[in-house]
């Protein structure tokens, strides 16, 4: 446990992740895109959260900012009760090594390393003991037990994705971010991966934050956050695939309505943007 902060937005010791009014803008004049617009959220430890929203709504940006891979323009991020702002890149890297796992949308496997080498690389870089048996066991779990010595270029997209998942799990991070971890997988492998993620939450008390477009995948989570145009627009607890699918269908209309609302009432913020509060479902 980490000591609690004394700042105004001090996170609870039981919180794995807290974002406070995080905004991020890309591009310059003319091409300016607001990827995240004043996002605040808090996720308790040992929870499995799915993040959904249309393509380009800022899901990857949210994950990158939350994991300390990208710097928000404004706002604060706390992981495991520790503020990320104001750390040097090296400090951040060391912090990430210890507590954060990340499955990238584009996998980002190193092309010169084999499956097993890719999986154990985070441990090597962190100077931690490399437990080959554990690495093999994790790879076995994602169905790659027979592929340990293959290079990424010799694997299918889905297989590469599963290596990326194994790599993120092998360090036993307290918070695991996964950007569409089942995007390249068939139904069967996707179910295996989702069960694995669920297990890491239930059995090992890890916190998982997963971006997905798939309502079935989202139904494995404890809660779903909906993102549109860089803003949190809703939350659903104990989601079922059907409820999520319906909700997504309405999301477009909801965004349009919120935009209209915003035009009328300028000071709109916390009521919709704070995700911690459950909302009545539509």
């Amino acid at each position: 446990m980490t000591g609690s902060q004394t700042t105004r937005n001090a996170p609870e010791a039981t919180e794995a992740l807290r974002l406070v009014r995080v905004s991020k803008t890309y591009g310059g004049d003319g091409t300016r895109v607001t990827a995240l617009d004043d996002v605040s959220l808090a996720l308790p430890r040992g929870t499995f959260t799915a993040i959904m929203g249309p393509s380009g709504s800022g899901k990857s940006t949210l994950l990158h900012c939350a994991a300390g891979l990208d710097k928000p323009d404004s706002g604060t991020v706390f992981v495991d009760g520790q503020e990320l702002r104001g750390r040097s890149e090296t400090e951040l890297t060391k912090f990430r090594r210890e507590r954060i796992g990340f499955v990238f949308q584009q996998f980002n496997l190193l092309p010169t390393l084999t499956v097993l080498q890719n999986t154990t690389l985070p441990l090597k870089l962190a100077g931690r003991r490399v437990d080959l048996n554990r690495a093999r066991a994790v790879l076995e779990r994602v169905g790659l037990g027979q592929r340990l010595d293959h290079l990424p270029s010799q694997l299918s997209g889905g297989q590469q994705q599963r290596v990326a998942i194994a790599r993120a799990l092998v360090t036993a991070p307290s918070v695991l971010f996964a950007d569409e971890p089942t995007g390249a997988l068939d139904t069967h492998s996707a179910r295996d991966v989702l069960t694995l993620l669920q297990e890491s939450v239930r059995v090992f008390g890890q916190t998982v934050v997963m971006v997905t477009h798939d309502p079935v995948a989202a139904s494995y989570a404890d809660a779903v956050l909906f993102l549109a145009d860089g803003r949190l627009v809703g939350r659903m607890s104990n989601p079922t695939a059907q409820a999520v699918a319906e909700r997504l269908t309405y999301l477009g209309d909801e965004v349009a309505r919120q935009r209209r609302q915003q035009r009328h009432q300028v000071g709109l913020d916390a009521s919709v943007a704070t995700a911690g509060r459950p909302r009545k479902e539509i």
């Binding site: 890309y26 591009g27 890149e89 980002n108 190193l110 390393l113 690389l121 985070p122 870089l125």
Partner: protein, 454 residues
């Protein structure tokens, strides 16, 4: 989106700049010596002057020509391979292999023509400088008028453009034949990595060794008088260096095998990554080996040769012409060694800049700046050891016969200062170019460097 475009143009710019620089400097070098032949061929030049000028143009210009052809070929090959991903994307979007070959050939041709044309005024000036030096050292009579004409232009434009087009034809054929999926799944692993060396490379290497051997024999048999031994010995190191360059990937692999143990033992995760890279990407890392070998080989070889010559020439016999030849020797060696040195920097900067994405991926998995720099340093250490070792071997075909001709003993007096000086320059240049570039590359946030593929 705009940021992405700018980054991609900038990334390509470094690849283009490398090729452009090789063509430009190569053309300047070749034109300078070509101009001597033009000057000698003009009417009214005495037979003696003409012989001096033509010999110099043919002998020195000849090596220069080979060196330049080599440099242009290797830089262009590197830059085309670096674009394997882009080429694969074009292919997946429906470009036919013929269209891709045309594109690569067109770009290479354009780059080479522009580079060579820009070089013309500089080549003309350098040739004038060389002639002035020859006059000042009394090799050529004062009244000879400088001419810059068909030989300078023909060889200067010819060798650079032909080398660029030749390399483009070979490389584009290989790249265009590559499977799209392989190239897309990861640009780096998809770069053509032939298991065995091409036949052409082996043959070229053997030919260079043969020429070098012949020059060595002629130097050894030339006897102690005058400059005869020097004339032959002087180019033996260049030929041997070019021969070794043909086998660069193999040499790099040997050195890796030799050093892998100690590196793995002493440098942690950085060394681990370095050794894996050295094993998997020998060809890319070997592209910088050629200039190191040439730099060390020619530097040590020529300087040592001059020392042997000076030591064996009686003090009383040191004439103005002796000093003149020494100056000339240093200027010519200087030009070639400088060319090798710039090619070394050029190659290292281009190759390291291209690894932006790889560095980014390592950082995302938890590598600190220090670890990435440590990896680059370990890789370049292997490059340096190979370059110093084989470069020193390349100097021997010059030094040993020279010693035999002058002193009847194959073994010259050791010159540790000379060797250490050359080695120090090679080490500093290699580390500064690669680590400096890596440091610059690391300034971009890791997440941005990997953003482009998606």
């Amino acid at each position: 989106m705009f940021g992405l475009a700018v980054r991609s143009v900038r990334r390509r710019a470094t690849a283009f700049v490398a090729t452009f620089l090789a063509v430009f400097l190569g053309a300047v070098l070749v034109m300078a010596f070509g101009a001597l032949a033009d000057t000698g061929a003009a009417t009214g030049v005495s037979d003696l002057d003409q012989e001096t000028l033509t010999t110099m143009a043919v002998v020195v210009g000849g090596w220069g020509l080979l060196l330049v052809a080599f440099a242009v070929t290797s830089t262009l090959t590197l830059s085309v391979h670096q674009r394997a991903m882009e080429i694969a994307l074009l292919k997946s979007a429906g470009a036919t292999p013929a269209q891709l070959r045309q594109m690569i050939l067109g770009e290479a041709g354009l780059l080479a023509v522009v580079g060579a044309l820009v070089a013309v005024p500089f080549g003309a000036l350098s040739g004038r400088g060389l002639l002035a030096l020859l006059k000042r050292t009394d090799q050529v009579s004062e009244e000879v008028a400088y001419a810059f004409g068909p030989v300078a232009l023909g060889t200067g434009l010819g060798v650079t453009i032909l080398a660029a087009l030749g390399a483009a034809v070979v490389t584009s054929r290989r790249v265009a034949a590559m499977r799209v999926t392989a190239a897309l799944s990861s640009a780096a692993a998809a770069e053509p990595r032939p298991k065995r060396m091409g036949k052409a490379r082996v043959i070229a290497g053997v030919v260079f060794f043969g020429i070098s051997l012949q020059l060595s024999v002629m130097a050894a048999l030339a006897g102690p008088e005058g400059f005869d031994a020097m004339q032959f010995a002087g180019s033996a190191d260049i030929m041997f260096g070019l021969g070794l360059a043909c086998f660069a990937p193999v040499l790099m692999r040997w050195t890796t095998t030799l050093l892998a143990g100690p590196i793995l033992r002493f440098s942690g995760a950085s060394g681990y990554l370095a050794v894996l890279n050295l094993r998997q990407r020998t060809a890319q890392l070997a592209s910088a080996l050629t200039p190191v070998i040439l730099f060390v080989g020619i530097g040590v070889g020529t300087l040592w040769m001059q020392v042997i010559h000076n030591d064996t020439t009686p003090l009383s016999g040191v004439s103005a012409s002796e000093e003149a030849v020494e100056t000339l020797n240093f200027v010519i060696t200087g030009m070639i060694v400088l060319f090798a040195c710039i090619m070394l920097i050029n190659t290292l900067v281009a190759a390291t800049t291209h690894r932006r994405r790889e560095f980014g991926q390592q950082r995302l998995v938890g590598a600190t700046h220090r670890q990435v720099l440590g990896m680059v340093a370990a890789e370049n250490l292997v490059l340096i050891v190979a370059g110093l070792g084989f470069g020193t071997i390349a100097a021997l075909p010059t030094v040993l016969p020279m010693s035999y001709a002058k002193t009847d003993s194959w073994l010259p007096d050791p010159e540790p200062g000379l060797w250490l000086g050359t080695a120090a320059v090679a080490v500093v240049v290699t580390l500064a170019a690669s680590l400096g570039t890596a440091r610059r590359v690391l300034r971009t946030p890791a997440i941005e460097t990997v953003a482009r593929a998606g």
